[in-house]
Structures are given as structure tokens and as C-alpha cells.
Subunit: 347 residues, 3 copies
């Protein structure tokens, strides 16, 4: 497609300006900046990539609103479009060149589907899928091979289940969700009561709810509680290897990076963003819009809008100051000893 045609099809184009009208290359694909070739489009997020504008072989670029970068690109006869949000525009551009693999509708003959299952229209159900009694499926589902669905599950329209994921009993999954390979949704919460002989298993009679637009990463696990529900609200995205303990609630539009763990009963508000390997203790309350840096350990209550880091998690700025001093502890310790000596203070 011509660069000009691509620009016309980007939804954010009205906020942007185009230069190099004379230069309108044919584009065959999208590439990262360092690997781009002729006839490919790439993008630049900010100033620190400026040097690469001088070396990239891309024929077209999405640029930030930065005059210098635009001049550099023009000088090199690179077609470009500038915008406040280059990454957003690039996401749109990718979708013009690429669609992920989707199997055609149809039910593979090796799938084992209980006669009581309510199948929607146009489902694509792969080889060796197992769907058990009482499951209710929406329209236009895509269920990849070797998925197992336990009894009593409901799934909305257009939801996508990747190969080898498992959906356990009574889970409710909304529409437009994506469950990645190896994820396990609705399994028994880790509920054991100490008794003299060891542990009494608390049966987990509750269930998991994923609202519309939720995405669950590969090999992530979301447990159901003893009573009540575990709920992930609309449009929240979980990365790979995330653990959601029984009875947790995650609000709308959150993003939890890989290897995050929520202990049982954690409550997250809307638009919460947790970095990789963050841990959240039992029954914590995390307010709307909270952000936590990678590996933070959170317990108790975090006020809405706070940015936290560290274990135990403290406000971001405080953590940066304290952690900067951490490496000076040996020096501080020596200084203190010297002062004590000088003042005749002992220990």
C-alpha cells in the first residue's frame, strides 16, 4: 500500500501533520527501527532514538511532534507522519498489514463435546478439545486444540481460547476475552485450615468471573474462592504467569505484568498498573489508578493515584531516595562509629 493510503486509514490521522507530500513510497510491512528495510514503515517514540533516524533504512516513519526529528527524516527523503502518540498510530498501522492466525469455523471431529452443551454460531473448535456438561457458549468463539472446559462454564461472543488452556467448573467468561495457552481459570483456591493432623481442605464452592474484554496471559492462574467469586472486571489485561488468588477482585482497565501475584482476597480498583513480579498480600486494598513498580511488595491499603515501589512498597520518590542511599549504608555506618568514638559514646 502507498504511504498516503496508509495515512488515510489511520484513525488518529486528523491530529497529525504530514510532510514530504512528494515522497510517497510503496509499503509492504512494518518493522522495528533497527531492522527496517526499504518499503517498510517503522516508528520513533522520542528524542533518544533520534540518532536512528539518520541510519534507518525504513521508507516511512511515524514520528513524535518533534521538529528536529521531522527535519532529519525529510532530509533523508523518508516519508513520515507526526503525532503526539506514535505508538498508538503504529499499533493501527500494524493492523493494516497483519492479522493473527484464526482457524476457520467448524468443529474438529476429534473434539469431545457433551450433548448438553449449548454451542453458539460459527464456532471454530479445534482438535481434541473437551467441553463438558452444561457449558453455554456464545457466537463466533475460537477454541484452539487441546482446550478443556469443565461443566457449567459460560463464555460470551467472540472470545478466543488458545491451545491447552483449562477452564474449570462454573467459570463465567464474557465476550471479546482472550485466554492464552496454558492458563487455568476457575481452579480451586488454596484454602486449607490448620488442624492438629495438618490441614483441612476447605472446599472451594465459589467461581471466577471474567468480564468482557479481559485478557489472561500464558500459564496464568485464576482461582475460585470457598464462597462467592473471584472477579476480573472489563478490559483488564493480565500478562503471562500471573497468579490471582481466590476471592480477589481486579477492577476495570487494569494491566498486570508478568509474574505478578495477588494473594487471596486482594481488592484492586480501576486502571491499576502493576509491574512484573509485584506481590500483593491478602486482603490488600489498592485504589484506582495506583501504579506499582516491578518487584514491589504491597500490603494494606494504597491510596488512589499513588505510585509505589519497593518491599514493603512506599511512594515512588521516597523509594528512589532511600534506595540510592542503600549502597551508602557501609559508609554511613563507618561515619557513625567515628562520631560515637569522638563523642565518647559507646554502644
Amino acid at each position: 500500500m502507498k504511504f498516503s493510503e496508509l495515512v488515510a486509514r489511520l484513525k488518529a490521522a486528523e491530529h497529525s501533520l504530514i510532510l514530504n507530500a512528494a515522497c510517497d513510497p510503496h509499503l509492504t510491512g512494518v518493522k522495528p527501527l533497527e531492522d527496517a528495510q526499504a518499503e517498510t514503515l517503522s516508528y520513533i517514540e522520542g528524542e533518544k532514538f533520534a540518532a536512528q533516524v539518520n541510519t534507518t533504512a525504513a521508507s516511512a516513519l511515524i514520528l513524535p511532534l518533534d521538529q528536529a526529528l521531522q527535519t532529519q527524516a525529510t532530509d533523508r527523503q523518508i516519508a513520515w507522519i507526526a503525532t503526539r502518540e506514535p505508538r498508538l498510530l503504529f499499533a493501527q498501522a500494524i493492523a493494516l498489514f497483519y492479522q493473527p492466525f484464526r482457524p476457520a469455523p467448524g468443529i474438529h471431529p476429534t473434539a469431545v463435546i457433551d450433548p448438553s452443551v449449548q454451542l453458539g454460531e460459527n464456532a471454530a473448535i479445534g482438535a481434541h478439545v473437551v467441553i463438558q456438561a452444561g457449558v453455554i457458549l456464545g457466537n463466533n468463539l475460537c477454541i484452539h486444540p487441546n482446550v478443556v472446559i469443565y461443566p457449567g462454564v459460560t463464555i460470551g461472543d467472540r472470545t478466543l481460547l488458545h491451545a491447552n488452556c483449562v477452564i474449570q467448573e462454573r467459570t463465567q467468561i464474557g465476550s471479546d476475552c482472550v485466554i492464552h495457552s496454558g492458563a487455568v481459570i476457575g481452579s480451586e483456591g488454596f484454602g486449607f485450615v490448620p488442624i492438629p493432623e495438618g490441614w483441612l481442605k476447605m472446599e472451594q464452592s465459589g467461581y471466577v468471573v471474567l468480564e468482557d474484554g479481559v485478557e489472561v496471559g500464558c500459564n496464568s492462574t485464576i482461582d475460585r474462592p470457598a464462597v462467592g467469586e473471584t472477579r476480573i472486571e472489563r478490559n483488564t489485561k493480565l500478562d503471562n504467569l500471573v497468579q490471582i488468588g481466590h476471592g480477589s477482585k481486579v477492577g476495570k482497565n487494569c494491566a498486570l505484568a508478568a509474574q505478578v501475584g495477588l494473594a487471596g482476597g486482594a481488592q484492586l480498583g480501576d486502571r491499576v498498573i502493576l509491574g512484573g513480579q509485584v506481590g500483593v498480600a491478602n486482603h490488600s486494598h489498592i485504589g484506582d489508578g495506583v501504579q506499582a513498580g516491578a518487584q514491589a511488595g504491597i500490603h494494606g491499603t494504597v491510596a488512589p493515584g499513588t505510585v509505589v515501589l519497593g518491599t514493603p512498597a512506599v511512594p515512588y520518590k521516597l523509594y528512589l531516595k532511600a534506595s540510592a542511599i542503600y549502597s551508602r549504608l557501609p559508609e554511613m555506618h563507618r561515619a557513625l562509629k567515628q562520631i560515637q568514638k569522638q563523642l565518647g559514646l559507646g554502644q
Copy 2:
């Protein structure tokens, strides 16, 4: 069931006292306190939930031995039973209303079972299960769909394997175990010896033993060692996404929360409790009854009965004091500089 009937069926009832004999509601289920409706039973663990006694719609409650809470409930005409361990009694109550899904005995025609396998009685073996040569299975097993069992595995009676777990060669699993979906037991330990060309793979000729009553969470991994065994002793419970390195030994009645990782050769005593995301280094020795808070990093030896926190893990009380001061480091650093200046010391 009537409340009075429920009370009669709870095993701990002899330690408890009942009030509101006049009030004996019909109960249809169990619910969390905040979602409880009429005709449901809920429970209260301690004082901090006191306010909810005044608002819950539950018809019956399990209460702690707290006079004030009991009076509140009586005043609201809620039937109740009081006990030292409300959570234990509630676990028993759930089991009166709820039984988890168990498929009926029988072998699904799509299961692929080697002729040399010794099948016990009454097994439920799901669709697309694969059981390889020389496997010996006990009675009353339940193997959900898409489970794969490698050669030479033995499994005791009444053990439950959830969908899509994998049991690799020579693993020995006891009776009354539960292996959750996606768990992998008996895979090769991470054994590589550095050589000039990179890494020499050390073949892992050992095996994994899970004693009776062990539970392994979803997507957890337990590796076999180069020689000898990796062993999880009786009644120990592992949560989701736990890693047990090759040659580790975990004692009896332990509980390891989600995302815990034990490096190779770690040795844990009995009744050890590790919080979420705890890491244990190679060849550590953790004594009986040790407890470690979430995200702790343990190496070396931990004395029996110790409660530890932090990385590197230190005794609980010390950690609380030190971590409280952590955020005051910038302030301490400033104070120290001021003192040094005043005394004409140092930098």
C-alpha cells in the same frame, strides 16, 4: 437444611455453644459475609468484621467466642453458633452444601492407555488422556482430560489429576493427592555443567516422590534430580506456579504459597509455611515450623520455629524495625552529614 441440623452435623460442635434456639432458619447455602442473602450461612473471623454483623443479610452466622458479636447477632435475629475457630467450622459447613465436580468412573474411548498399564478399580479416566508403559495406578483414581503420564509412574488410591497436567517418568505419587491443571511433576532438573563450549547436560536419572495427601497447584513444576530423589512429604500443600528444584526435600504438613521457588537441593522441615514469591537458595536448610513472609529470600540455615522476612531473610521483628527505618534513610543521611560538619569530621 435447618440450622439446627447443620449444627448437629458439624464435628467441632461439642466445643461450641448455641443461642437463639427459637430462631432456626432454613439454609440453602453458604456465602461470603458481604454477599450473603436470606437462607444462607456465613462466618466472621474476628472483631474487625463486627460492623458487618449489623448489615449482613445472612440468616445464620458462625461467630468467634466474642460476647459482643453474639449479642449483636441475637438482636438482629440471626441464628448463630460460636467457636474458637470459625474458619474451621465454616469449612465443614461448606462441605455440607457443596461437593466439587467429579466425573463418573469409566474410561473415555479416546484415552490412549498402554497395554502394560495396571489400572486400579473404579478409575475415571477422561478424554484424550495418555498413559504410557509400565504405569501402575491405584483404585478410585480420577484423571481429567488431556493428562499425560510418562512410563514407569506409580499413583496411589483416590488421587486426582486435573486436566492438562503432566507426570513424567518414574514419578511416585501417593494416595489422596491432588495435582492441579498444568502442573508438571518429574521433569528433568536444571542440571548443566559449564564447559568451554557452553553447557554439558547432566542427565537427570533420579525421580520425584509425592507422599500421601500432597496437593500441587496449577502450573507448578517439580523437577527430578540427577541422582536420588526430590521428595514432598505427607500432607504438604503447594499453591499455584510453585517451582521445586531437583533434589529438594519438603517435609510434612508444609504450605507453600503461590510463586514460591526452591532452588536445587533445598531441605525444608515439617510444618514450614512460605508466603507468596518466597525464594529459597540452593542447599538451604529450613527447620521445622519456620514461617517466611511473602517475597523473603532465604539462604543458608534457618533455625526451627523462626519467623523470617526480607531478602536476605532476617527474623521477623528485626525486619519490621529495619524496614520501618528504610524510608527514613534520606533523613538519617542528612543528619549524619550535618553532624560530621559540626564536628569537623569526614568528607
Copy 3:
């Protein structure tokens, strides 16, 4: 096999010296030191295991170059061979007694293989495997049951895929790789752009490359990027539950222990060793030969050859000093207050 025959077959034998020529026991297997019986071989890595030479029941030992240990063994009539690298020699010895389970070549009739797949020679393809359109497979592959391969994947010779792993679209896997059970390779990177309504999904049009000799642990996940590739170079080994974010590059001969997480775009050099649960932030650059201790949190740039620890990661020696003082923070804080008081300084 006789001890003398074993010694003759060990490749490193020329660097070693043998004693006890008179003593040449028959050996039936390899065992860990503490469980060794008569007719078994074990090994000792260093001085700290010296006491066990006096108690082991092993008939033969691989020893370090330590005269005292050798004398102890000779005195107990244990056959032994001494070497600079006992673990390397023991790895070779194990391989003389043990070969891991490999299914015989052949394609199980329940495997579902698209007619367009190019199958190599001598493949062993297990029950319920699914291989989709356009996949190209090398010779002597071993694919265990319930593996799913999405369209457009290529796999080299002698590569081994364990049960229930998933290889997603366009992944390129080299020769002599091992993918362990439950691993997911080539899934969509966690790419979402914030928009007023929540998150816009960035399609992940890239792919994953695993070069020859790469090993990926159980339930590990390696994501493909929006554009370009995620690459793991030759002979790099990943343990279980490792997360490799989209667009990362891991160099040659690295070893990443269990539960390590690399955020998107992390760049690792060659021979990097990361301990368990290490986290690496977005777009970090880690030089050749860097080693990071367990649970380290790395961001930014780490110079080649550095050994780091802690979060945020600092050089190893500094971390040891600083963390040793961490527990003395309460004491330092008290001392500081006392000094301030004495000097009449406020806070």
C-alpha cells in the same frame, strides 16, 4: 561395569589420576553421596563434604584434587578417580548408566497433522499431537503427546518437545533444542496502548527464534513482539516458569534460573547467568558474562563481567556490605538520635 572400564570411558580421564588399582569394584549405578550403596558410584565436590567420605557406602567416588580426601577414600578401600571438576566427570558417568525415556519413531494414529506439514525422517510423534498448516519439521524429532504446533512453525533436527507444550505461529526452533512440558513459545507479547476507553491491543506480528541447543523449562513462556523478533541464541538454557518478554534478546550460552522474568525488549549478552526470580526491566542492556544473584532487580545497563545482587541491583560486594548493615538500621537510628541530642541538633 567395572570401575576401571568406567574410568576408561570418561572423556576427562586424561587430566586425572587413579589410585587403588587393586580395588576395582563392579558398579551398577550412580547415587547421591548420602544414599549410595555398595556397587554404586558417587562424587564429592569439595572439602565440606569430607566427613561423608568416612560414612558413605559407595564403592567408588569421583573426588576433587585433594590429597586428604583421597587418602580417606583409599583407607576405606573405596575406588576413586580425582579431577579438577568432579561434577563434570560425574555428569559423564551418569550418562554411562542412564538414558532418558525416548519414544520409538512413529506417528500415533490419533495425531492430527495438516496435509501441508513437511515431516522429517524418523519422527516420533505422540498421541493427540496437533500440527497445523505449513509447519516444517527436521529429522529425528521427538514430539510427546498433546503438543500443539500452530501454523508456519519450523523446527530443526533432533529437537525434543515434551508433553503439553505449545508452539505458536511462525516460531523458528533450531536443532537439538528441548522444550519442556507446558512451555508456550511464540505467544502474543503483552502489547497494549493506553487509550481513553482503556487499552488498544497492538497486534504482535513478529515471531520467536530459538537457535540450536536452546532448552526451555516447564511452563516457561516466550512471547513474540509487535514487529521483529524475540531471540534466544545458541545453547542458552532456561529453567522452569521463566518469562521472556516480547522483543527480548538473550545471547549464547546463558543460563536463566527458575522464575526469572525479562520484560519486553531486554537485551542480554553471552554467558549471562541469572539466579532464580531475577527480574529485568524493559529495554535493559546486560553485558557479556554478567551474573545476577537470586531475586535481583535489574534495570538500565550492566557492564560486562559484573556480578550484581539486590533490588535495584548493585555490585555484589557492595550489596553484601549494605545488606549486612540493613539489620543494624534500628541500632544506627538510635545512635544517631543520641548524638543529635548530645550535640543539641534537632531533627
